[in-house]
């Protein structure tokens, strides 16, 4: 099969952009797993709610974008606090029950979503229409915007986790909970904060990715599959690993789609994941 070089370069560029979008979606998941070791299956549904909130507040009700985002952040924060308090805290220490409960939360939100929002596909008009032409590689601006947001959020998360006292408390709890508690770290507060921040990251990701994909209550499933894959390949809980794996998966998917077709590329990504798990069970950059 003949593949033209410009086509591959285009695929590579789109792959990198898609990868960054995956990183954006996976960040909150990495945070919650990294600190509390909870795999939050409801992440995709929070992402969906973020996108839906943009549709109803910004597009339908005409609220400007910045206040819309503020409302989304506050709502996600409250939802995160409520779920941590009402469900995750009760199930502490039982990984199986926690995972299954998060699947339950995801199913509840999704089925209420189907009932409330209907089955019709919806779309959000682009925040930044148009295409940037870079040496013959064409990149849609809205994806560049989302990628920019992703880069800012990754930097912010690094700063929070590695440069602030709150981040220090988070890492201390993860490293040695008993000692951290003895030194006066409020473990409950760390747990609440981590879950709430994870939820905010999910909702913000949904808000910025909304114009790129079409919206329906089931839209959270595919990104969350990809996010799991990315955080596993990268090493559960490692921010750097998540970023690397996101880019890798984006490129494999997009270049694979050009070479073998999109369904085969989708399968290929999962084969890569199983291979990584077998060769390095902790992921590319994970500790264990």
């Amino acid at each position: 099969m003949e593949v033209y070089l410009p086509l591959l370069a285009q695929g590579l560029a789109i792959g990198v952009l898609t990868g960054i979008l995956y990183v954006l979606v996976a960040l909150g998941l990495t945070l919650i797993y990294g600190i509390l070791h909870i795999v939050n299956f409801a992440h995709g549904e929070i992402y969906m709610l973020g996108a839906m909130a943009v549709l109803y507040l910004h597009v339908v009700a005409g609220l400007p974008l910045v206040p819309t985002l503020a409302v989304i952040v506050v709502l996600a924060l409250l939802l995160g606090l409520a779920i941590e308090r009402g469900i995750f805290r009760v199930l502490r220490g039982q990984w199986l029950q926690l995972v299954v409960a998060s699947v339950g939360i995801s199913l509840v939100i999704q089925s209420i979503g189907w009932i409330a929002f209907g089955i019709q596909e919806k779309s959000v008009p682009s925040y930044l229409p148009g295409i940037v032409d870079l040496f013959g590689i064409r990149l849609p601006r809205e994806r560049l915007l989302a990628a920019g947001v992703a880069v800012v959020l990754v930097a912010a998360l690094y700063w929070l986790v590695y440069r602030t006292r709150v981040g220090l408390a988070m890492r201390a709890i993860e490293e040695d909970e008993e000692t951290a508690r003895m030194l006066g770290v409020n473990a409950n507060r760390v747990a609440s904060l981590s879950v709430a921040l994870g939820f905010v990251l999910a909702a913000v990701a949904g808000a910025f990715v909304a114009p790129v994909y079409s919206l329906n209550p089931g839209m959270g499933l595919e990104p969350i599959l990809m996010s799991f894959l990315i955080i596993i390949v990268g090493g559960l809980g490692s921010i750097t690993g998540t970023v690397l794996a996101g880019l890798l998966v984006g490129v494999i998917q997009s270049v694979g789609a050009i070479l073998f077709g999109s369904e085969a590329a989708y399968g290929l990504v999962f084969v890569v994941m199983i291979a990584v798990l077998v060769a390095r069970p902790a992921g590319l950059l994970g500790r264990v």
């Binding site: 699947v103 089925s111 189907w114 009932i115 399968g267 999962f270 069970p281």
Partner: protein, 322 residues
């Protein structure tokens, strides 16, 4: 007493259906299939492994049998066995490499496997692509095709009784008890220190689990008369986990109770679409939060609650995977 009740139940399941309406038979067939899936999953849940990908093995069984029947004209009865065998073979291959992983890593790798299976079925025309395979025939029985619900009901009943009976006996064997010992990383280490080859036991348990999923999956495909990648989704896998958790992991009867009650309830809500998964999920959350141990704990509600309160106060924030 217990045996008498079981014999009576079995007699009722054999004798009553000719009197039932086709819709009731349909519900009974779905209940029996889900009961087998749930118990098959229970084999590995009992040893502390959670799978979000059993629908992938069910799909492998369904597609194997459907392809053999439609492309090669192989007898449907042989197709059932081939479906189970194909699923078991794939479980053996995947199990060898992924059962070393514990906790969520294993769950997500099986989940990834199910996604690969689905992607392959959607991608290649040989497997019917996104549309799946139509015209999957019902089995022949003494020259007559079992096209009615009643005829097929007895096929499913037979398969379910054999599968459930086998799985029930298996849990009480030395093999079944050994699986219980592999539930945590610590006890697995202990088991290995007395000479138990944990890896072999785990692989075998996974193979058994997937064999019965594949077998019932093959029957499932012939019941629906078509197979499609959109039947065996992630939500199929989560339903099986929900049956297990709602019924309770404490005994063989838990997953069975969960599957029977929830499926019967879910079929009533079928016309209402998304209310079914809403009800499943709400029941799941209520049971996990308020009744750890599942529905089979109901007779000992007071003790379960006392244990729940004790456990809750002392848990660390960071959940370690065992």
């Amino acid at each position: 007493m217990k045996t008498a009740a079981l014999v009576l139940l079995l007699l009722a399941l054999v004798a009553l259906p000719p009197l039932a309406e086709p819709y009731m038979l349909h519900v009974a067939i779905v209940v029996l299939m889900n009961a087998v899936y749930a118990e098959a999953l229970y084999v590995i849940m009992r040893m502390g492994y959670l799978s979000f990908g059993h629908a992938g093995y069910i799909a492998v069984g369904a597609y194997t049998s459907a392809l053999l029947a439609t492309k090669l004209g192989v007898s449907v009865w042989l197709g059932f066995l081939a479906g189970g065998t194909a699923a078991a073979l794939l479980a053996w291959l995947l199990g060898m490499v992924t059962l070393k992983l514990r906790g969520i890593y294993f769950s997500l790798s099986v989940f990834a496997f199910a996604e690969v299976v689905n992607a392959v079925f959607r991608a290649f025309d040989f497997f019917g692509g996104p549309a799946g395979i139509a015209g999957v025939p019902r089995p022949m029985f003494f020259g007559a095709r079992l096209n009615t619900h009643l005829g097929f009901y007895y096929v499913v009943l037979g398969a379910a009784v054999i599968s459930l009976g086998f799985l029930y006996r298996l849990a009480a064997t030395r093999f079944g008890f050994t699986l219980l010992a592999l539930r945590t990383r610590d006890t697995e280490g202990l088991a290995e220190s007395v000479g138990i080859d944990a890896a072999r036991y785990k692989t075998l348990a996974f193979v058994v689990s997937c064999f019965f999923c594949g077998l019932m999956g093959a029957i499932h495909g012939h019941y629906l008369r078509f197979v499609s990648p959109f039947v065996f989704t992630f939500f199929f896998s989560t339903d099986l986990v929900i049956f297990n958790m709602v019924g309770g992991l404490g005994s063989f009867w838990g997953p069975l109770a969960g599957a029977v009650l929830l499926t019967a309830l879910g079929e009533q809500l079928f016309a209402a679409g998304y209310y079914k998964s809403l009800v499943y999920a709400v029941v799941l959350l209520v049971v996990i939060l308020a009744l750890p141990g599942g529905l089979i704990q109901l007779p000992r509600l007071r003790e379960a609650w006392a244990a729940r309160r004790l456990r809750w106060a002392k848990q660390p924030v960071v959940t370690t995977e065992r």
